[in-house]
């Protein structure tokens, strides 16, 4: 996905007055599914646009995003993918990523 497209989408969501949050990977360590700068838009009903890597880690970020949307305040969340291999969550990457989540 082209980055400009993502911001276009954010602007149209803002314009429509919908509540949502943007999650951005701001730091990575080791092997992670997406690199720094990957972005995802999360709506209050759980719909998403874009991905920061899928799986359980993304699930955690979506959960956190609901809080961010509700409180209207940004936060950081660390996704740890170093635990285990081929577990059900598919967290087989083996890295850590910091995600910044902000309301829009």
């Amino acid at each position: 996905m082209n980055n400009m497209e993502f911001f276009d989408k954010v602007m149209s969501v803002q314009k429509a007055g919908k509540k949502a949050a943007v999650a951005t990977v701001i730091r990575t360590k080791g092997s992670t599914p997406r690199s720094t700068g990957a972005k995802m838009l999360i709506f209050s009903n759980g719909d998403i646009y874009g991905t920061i890597g899928g799986g359980c880690g993304e699930g955690e970020v979506i959960e956190k995003s609901f809080m961010v949307i509700e409180k209207g305040r940004a936060c950081q969340h660390q996704v740890d993918l170093t635990k285990g291999i081929m577990y059900e969550d598919g967290g087989i990457c083996g890295g850590i990523m910091d995600v910044f989540i902000e309301p829009i």
Partner: protein, 276 residues
């Protein structure tokens, strides 16, 4: 991000300028989290929040070198007694893909080029080929004689050129014009990729001539015949093969199968990381 900031941002990208989007990701004043600023290469900072000027200049000082080398990174800035964490995200103007010749192969090449994020220009000297109906997705369609186009089109190290015209002679005159211009440039300013379609036999004749004509050019950025060897036959397959080669050059990668990095699956070992 506010509407005004977004407009500044998209304008800069359209003008093919590199910019850095700066977001405050950690600050003792929680209300400032998510504050975003825009920095241009000349040091202009667009700040709607009116941050204190010392913090502004500190941000500029730390971000400009990253923008210069096009590196996205999270950094910590010391401001008075506190530390401010900023995510500096660099957005580059898209690389330019020029497709000379608007034939069957050019269609999928141009379309896939767009998918890969290139700014795509298609040029042909025939109006019935160089038109918007045939290339609705590309950024620019030019109908002009090849030699005139290549005499004036801006070329940088971020320009990728494909010579896929209907006649080998047009490819060759275009290439000659490009080589002539590149000889005047420093090697690192030259394009990284000029691909020219053609059989081995044809190419050997061309280079026989070119090497006497251009003695100050090492031809390292010339790729002819074009494409990686994936057995491409159809226009779409050829487009994949050409663009895979362009990506390989753009990313200075090997173009080999990734599995070649692994000598044998049976010898692979996975070690559980021990957490303290």
């Amino acid at each position: 991000m506010s509407r005004q900031l977004y407009e500044r941002f998209s304008e800069a990208i359209q003008e093919q300028k590199d910019v850095a989007l700066i977001t405050i990701t950690r600050h003792t004043d929680k209300a400032l989290l998510g504050t975003s600023l825009l920095l241009e290469k000349d040091g202009t900072l667009y700040d709607e929040y009116q941050l204190p000027s010392e913090l502004q200049s500190e941000i500029i000082k730390c971000s400009l070198p990253l923008l210069e080398v096009r590196r996205t990174k999270t950094i910590e800035i010391q401001y008075k007694e506190t530390k401010v964490e900023c995510f500096i995200e660099v957005f580059q103007a898209p690389p330019h893909l020029i497709v000379a010749g608007a034939g069957h192969v050019s269609e999928p090449v141009a379309e896939m080029g767009k998918m890969l994020g290139f700014y795509v220009t298609v040029i042909d000297d025939r109006e019935q080929f160089a038109n918007r109906e045939r290339f609705p997705y590309v950024d620019k369609v030019v109908c002009a004689p090849y030699i005139d186009f290549f005499r004036h089109v801006p070329i940088t190290s971020e320009t990728y050129i494909l010579l896929l015209t209907r006649g080998h002679q047009f490819d060759v005159v275009s290439l000659q014009e490009l080589l002539r211009r590149e000889e005047e440039m420093e090697p690192e300013e030259r394009t990284k990729y000029i691909g020219m379609i053609g059989s081995r036999r044809r190419i050997s004749g061309v280079f026989e001539q070119l090497k006497t004509e251009f003695t100050d050019h090492n031809f390292t950025n010339i790729y002819s015949p074009v494409g990686l060897d994936v057995g491409a036959q159809t226009p779409a397959e050829i487009a994949i093969s050409i663009l895979a080669e362009i990506l390989k050059v753009k990313h200075t990668a090997t173009g080999n199968s990734l599995k070649e990095k692994i000598s044998s699956y049976s010898q692979l070992k996975f070690r559980e990381r021990v957490r303290k």
